[in-house]
């Protein structure tokens, strides 16, 4: 009887826990706090935060409980992450939610979305310089795309062991966009530039919006076929939205599908951050590189907007360059916020959505390109 009790006690989390589990549980609680109390990306941080708690309850190996054990419930749910299923489904939902009309009205703003992808490739170089192998470096670099699903997709393909730290870094920094971006925006632009008003975009016809996803899909995926799982689903979702006759499917994609997948993705990514796998020096390097990539991406967009202004007759507000990082719609909101801090009557949100959504396309192409180089 006593032996049985001792055996039971030795199998409890209280007995098996060490300081690393405590650290991760605190991290999970911070995520939940930031999501609920500070409203930083609550739909992502709350599931990830709780997932971190789930993944860091010490369990007896062999019971089939851990996410990394075969046949455990969590391992089946994690299957969608490791095989890239969840990111693709999330992209379909994003497509069904996104209105590309501001981008169609002013295609020149798409270049800002391309410029911000410099963050991906500069971080890739930084990761190589720190000694990561090329596949790991590519997965870390994609954090600069500021696109959680893309980062998870690429790291699942190239560096599955790093999914946890990469996903947590990507989503943490996406949540911290309102904190990271404004100082860089103010540093790299003058007040006069921040006051520039944008011309109203032309009206975009329904036909244009319907034809756009088909043309964009064909153009991008013929150029970078490896981006097919992400861009294919993104533009398919958008076609469902714009086709009108498929409104029921669009509604499913933009609500139940994306919500269910976000829950599963957040929870399992959080659960994959088990202390023994997560608390390593590489994770700290990934976090530093992730922060650097966000800063570089923001700066690249801003500087490119200023360069464009040297050639454009109708000047653009360089703040829009910061929206090129594809954290939709947070970076566009930050542009609006910083612009309105200078002039409360200047509305930049609508214009900022153009580089913002083109950033999503750009980061997916970037992921496809890196994947094809590494295979």
């Amino acid at each position: 009887m006593a032996d049985l009790l001792v055996q039971f006690l030795q199998n409890t989390g209280y007995y098996m826990a060490d300081y690393r589990h405590c650290i991760m549980i605190i991290v999970g609680c911070v995520f939940i706090y930031l999501g609920i109390a500070k409203h930083y990306e609550p739909l992502l941080l709350v599931p990830i935060g709780f997932g971190i708690l789930v993944g860091n309850v010490p369990v007896f190996k062999g019971l089939g409980l851990s996410i990394y054990e075969d046949n455990s419930v969590l391992s089946y749910l994690y299957f969608g992450v490791t095989k890239g299923i969840y990111p693709s489904l999330i992209f379909m939902g994003i497509g069904a939610l996104t209105d590309f009309s501001t981008m169609i009205a002013r295609p020149v703003l798409m270049l800002l979305g391309a410029a911000a992808q410099m963050g991906i490739f500069i971080t890739f170089l930084g990761a190589l310089a720190l000694g990561f192998d090329p596949k790991e470096a590519a997965s870390i670099g994609i954090i600069g795309g500021a696109d959680g699903p893309t980062a998870i997709f690429l790291s699942a393909k190239l560096a599955p062991a790093l999914i946890g730290p990469i996903a947590v870094a990507a989503y943490s920094y996406m949540a911290l966009v309102p904190v990271i971006q404004p100082p860089i925006m103010k540093l790299l632009t003058t007040r006069k530039e921040r006051l520039i008003r944008m011309e109203d975009p032309r009206e975009v016809s329904k036909q244009e919006k319907m034809v756009f996803p088909v043309i964009a899909f064909l153009l991008c995926c013929f150029l970078a076929p490896a981006a097919l799982p992400l861009l294919g689903m993104l533009f398919f979702g958008n076609l469902l939205k714009e086709a009108v006759v498929t409104e029921r499917l669009a509604e499913a994609a933009r609500r139940p599908v994306i919500d269910s997948v976000t829950i599963l993705l957040g929870l399992t990514v959080g659960a994959s951050t088990q202390a023994d796998r997560f608390l390593k020096p590489e994770s700290i390097e990934i976090f530093i590189l992730g922060a650097l990539s966000f800063c570089v991406a923001t700066a690249s967009g801003l500087i490119f907007a200023k360069i464009m202004n040297l050639f454009l007759r109708q000047k653009i507000n360089p703040l829009l360059g910061a929206a090129g990082v594809s954290a939709v719609p947070d970076s566009a909101r930050v542009v609006q916020m910083v612009g309105q801090a200078e002039d409360p009557t200047n509305f930049l949100l609508m214009h900022a959505m153009a580089p913002n959504v083109s950033g999503v396309i750009g980061s997916a192409i970037g992921a496809g390109v890196l994947w094809s180089f590494m295979v």
């Binding site: 890739f124 190589l128 090329p134 016809s205 043309i215 153009l219 970078a224 396309i361 970037g366």
Partner: protein, 158 residues
């Protein structure tokens, strides 16, 4: 291996340069395609007008020189008599058109006219279209008809 050596050893510079070039190429291609999209769709929607134009030209070619002469005679713009005030407005609109370049979208011209404070821009524009000083190109844009403009004369009693 760390630092720049690691980047060079793993072909990092080339991958980064090529990667960003491909991303830019993709988005530039896409932006070029969608910048032309509305023109292609307008052409598609007005394809019957396009067919009619082609048909007209084809018929003119078939009917020979005699008809060509008749066509040229028909094409001679009639002398247009405009009130003095409208003649002045036509001159002002001509300057705006030169500023916009051809072909120009009509709303843009109207917007510019309002911005410059031209007198009764809506009705003047309507008159200019009726007198065929401003003619549509059937692709959604408009042209300034120089032939008609050169034939404008002012009424003597005004």
């Amino acid at each position: 291996m760390n630092g720049l050596d690691a980047i060079s050893a793993n072909n990092g510079w080339n991958i980064a340069a090529l990667g960003i070039t491909i991303v830019f190429t993709g988005l530039v291609l896409l932006s070029l395609a969608i910048s032309q999209l509305h023109k292609i769709l307008t052409l598609w929607e007005t394809k019957h007008l396009f067919y009619e134009q082609v048909k007209e030209v084809w018929q003119k070619k078939r009917t020979g020189v005699a008809d060509d002469d008749r066509f040229l005679a028909e094409e001679q713009p009639p002398e247009v008599v405009l009130p003095k005030s409208l003649k002045k407005s036509a001159d002002q609109f001509n300057i705006l058109v030169l500023h916009l370049g051809e072909p120009f979208p009509l709303p843009k011209l109207l917007e510019l006219a309002i911005k410059r404070g031209l007198d009764r821009p809506h009705s003047t524009l309507n008159h200019l279209i009726q007198t065929k000083l401003i003619v549509p190109d059937k692709l959604g844009f408009f042209h300034w008809n120089e032939k008609v403009y050169n034939c404008i004369s002012e009424p003597e009693d005004e």
